[in-house]
């Protein structure tokens, strides 16, 4: 059973919540912490992603954050003493037109100016790397790609377990099957939560419940710039080693890598409508498979083993929020859209910093909740306040 009071309560036992608790204990010496999870740890989006890690961002508000995450990934296994199967096998974003090449050159240059590795490859270099792509008469010919060699994949479940064990070893209580059903207010401040396992009080409460942020925030009377959307992912039967890194198709939306077990792990666009259902519909399945066939027809006869859906916390500009809320005592970590997995270490690091010091960490300063009202948006895709297009 959870104790009746903690210094900090983190709502949400996914990667972000557990990483937050771990860094609170490790970096800030705050170990009187509980992580409350309504199901079991890692049962939400931490177990539903396509395991990709990268820091190939354009905007100055985003890049240093994701690069800090990449640096934490690079030292994660030593730090946690846990094999998270971090594999820097490279992330290659293909381009299919001159305009897209210019866009990727710009992004690559922005990355290099932030000290992040980026290489712009021409079609020949891509063909040497991935000879099985369709270079003969494709509708959208491959002109080249932007490669981040330090990007790659990590074992998503192991990340959850590694953070959980390391946090637990430092005295953090991880409480499963404990759903938050309400917030307790005293003198305008939130001082605790009502849960399915009783009342738990805390000086500070952090929400890390991406996917369900609007629902939990509603319990505190907050309305947020977030929509929940479903994103599907797929895994095929296991085949021999075939795809060396992560490859993304630039003419549609399709990304693929091969797990160490041999399955092809892939996905594409959001279904495009509000959903909490954790499952999607067939038009998106068709679209993803068409992307696969346009890019690498060689996998056409590989059978899909499983597909699933995760609920994405789509913020209105496609970038996350790590900030205080208008209510004292309540802190927000949300809006991860479909990029939350790669952010896990830095999200935990920066949220822990915010909870410990009441001020944002230097690399997460742009992730303010009030940026939508003030106009300081972080719209990496440049599509405006239409979450299903991010």
């Amino acid at each position: 059973m959870p104790k009746s009071a903690y210094d900090v309560v983190v709502i949400g036992g996914g990667g972000h919540g557990l990483a937050t608790a771990y860094y609170l204990a490790k970096v800030h010496g705050i170990s009187n912490v509980a992580v409350l999870e309504k199901g079991w740890i890692g049962s939400g989006n931490a177990g539903r992603n396509t395991t990709i890690i990268r820091s190939n961002y354009l905007l100055a508000g985003n890049n240093p954050f994701y690069e800090w995450s990449m640096k934490l990934w690079e030292g994660l296994e030593q730090d946690l003493n846990y094999n998270a199967m971090v594999s820097q096998r490279g992330v290659l974003n293909l381009y299919h037109s001159d305009a897209q090449r210019d866009l990727y050159a710009r992004r690559g240059n922005a990355m290099r100016m932030h000290g992040v590795d980026a290489e712009l490859l021409d079609a020949k270099a891509v063909q040497r790397m991935l000879p099985f792509l369709d270079f003969a008469g494709a509708r959208f010919p491959i002109h080249g790609g932007l490669l981040q060699r330090r990007g790659g994949t990590a074992r998503h479940d192991a990340v959850v377990w590694g953070y959980a064990r390391a946090a637990s070893d430092r005295g953090v209580d991880i409480v499963q099957n404990c759903e938050v059903t309400g917030f307790i207010r005293e003198a305008g401040r939130i001082v605790g939560v009502e849960t399915t396992r009783g009342i738990i009080r805390a000086a500070k409460i952090g929400m890390a419940v991406a996917g369900n942020t609007s629902r939990v925030a509603h319990l505190a009377g907050l309305k947020l710039p977030i929509e929940s959307h479903v994103l599907q992912a797929f895994v095929s039967e296991a085949i021999k080693p075939f795809i060396p890194g992560v490859v993304t198709f630039g003419a549609g939306h399709f990304y693929i890598s091969q797990s160490d077990k041999g399955g092809l792990v892939f996905g594409g666009d959001l279904d495009g409508y509000n959903s909490y259902a954790q499952r999607g519909n067939l038009p998106t399945v068709e679209d993803v498979c068409e992307g696969a066939m346009a890019l690498m027809p060689a996998i056409g006869r590989v059978r899909v083993l499983r597909s699933w859906g995760g609920v994405m916390d789509m913020s209105m500009d496609g970038s996350p929020i790590i900030d205080r809320t208008a209510i004292a005592g309540l802190y927000l970590n949300a809006g991860w859209c479909y990029g939350g997995f790669k952010a896990t270490p830095a999200s935990g690091w920066c949220f822990a910093h915010l909870l410990a010091h009441d001020e944002p960490h230097a690399v997460a300063r742009a992730y303010r909740l009030d940026r939508f009202a003030s106009g300081h948006l972080l719209d990496e895709r440049g599509v405006g306040a239409q979450p299903n297009l991010h």
């Binding site: 369900n212 609007s214 629902r215 309305k223 947020l224 710039p225 977030i226 929509e227 929940s228 495009g272 409508y273 509000n274 959903s275 909490y276 259902a277 519909n281 067939l282 038009p283 068709e286 209105m316 939508f372 009202a373 306040a385 239409q386 979450p387 299903n388």
Partner: protein, 89 residues
Amino acid sequence: MRIECPFCGERDLSEFAYLGDADFKRPEPDAPDAEVRFFEAVYVRDNPAGPHDELWYHASGCRSWLRVTRNTRTHEILAVSFPIPSGGT
């Protein structure tokens, strides 16, 4: 997911495009609190888990805008109508 278009009948999801929350109303630009109202209208959403009123466009059919009430937990379509009662042609 299939949507019963009041003009065309029940059609597959692939014929429709999604816009979002059906209750968007353009605030009065001359109101003293217009800045706050616009922020709320453009960015803030109820995002309910359950029945949700939303706008869909029957792009590959009659090209009508539809007001659809749909359960976001189950994808069950609860009601479909034209957003403007006299519209639909």
